[in-house]
């Protein structure tokens, strides 16, 4: 019974990774690709690690898995934020592709600190 639960979790995590890769190839611009890319980084990896923890069934392995999962949960949003911020500030995304763009108005209204790169 545990093996069935673990196998289902492993397969669903791998499915999320494959969906993200298909989205990476097919979606049109960087923000849409980032939307696809965050699925295996958090939920997909958590499903796989939960499946591994259920199957391994030991305290030491579960502790290591919890460390890996919490590191991944802490680091991947920060990395995605940095990538999105850099893309927006460097105008990698054409303005006509964005439906709502409130940040651009705020950036135009404020001066920003000296030396701040738009």
């Amino acid at each position: 019974m545990r093996d069935y639960i673990s196998g289902a979790l492993l397969i669903s995590g791998a499915t999320l990774a494959m969906c993200a890769a298909i989205g990476l190839v097919r979606l049109p611009d960087l923000f849409a690709r980032m939307h696809a890319a965050t699925k295996p980084q958090t939920l997909g990896l958590l499903l796989i690690l939960a499946g591994a923890a259920i199957r391994l069934d030991s305290v030491a392995a579960t502790a290591m898995i919890v460390v890996a999962a919490s590191l991944q949960l802490l680091t991947s949003p920060v990395a995605s934020h940095m990538v999105g911020r850099a893309a927006y500030r460097a105008r990698f995304i054409p303005a006509d592709r964005l439906v709502v763009d409130e940040l651009s108005d705020d950036l135009d209204a404020g001066e920003g600190p000296p030396g701040c790169q738009r």
């Binding site: 093996d3 673990s6 890769a21 295996p40 690690l49 499946g51 392995a61 590191l71 790169q117």
Partner: protein
């Protein structure tokens, strides 16, 4: 459990190929960074699946290392990528 292993290996293999396609095509450096992040997540998932199927705990520390290295790589690329010229976005 070996059937699960085969299914997951096929899915993660397709993931790796598609990520490498996006890394090759670009068009910008940040697209490549995002694709490399997904490739890193798929690699971490592959190590997790290997640990689950073989019931071995030797590959689990690699998961921690992969999370840290992938984070440092993508943050440093995102920090220094846009300082190139406007026309040169590769």
């Amino acid at each position: 459990m070996s059937t699960v292993g085969i299914i997951c290996a096929v899915m993660l293999g397709v993931t790796g190929i598609l990520c490498i396609i996006r890394i090759v095509r670009g068009p910008s450096m940040l697209d490549r960074t995002v694709a490399a992040d997904v490739l890193m997540a798929a690699t971490a998932g592959a190590f997790g699946i290997e640990a689950a199927i073989h019931r071995s705990t030797t590959t689990l520390p690699i998961l921690v290392v992969l999370a840290l290295v992938g984070f440092l790589g993508s943050v440093s690329i995102a920090r220094f990528a846009p300082q190139t010229d406007e026309g040169d976005q590769r």
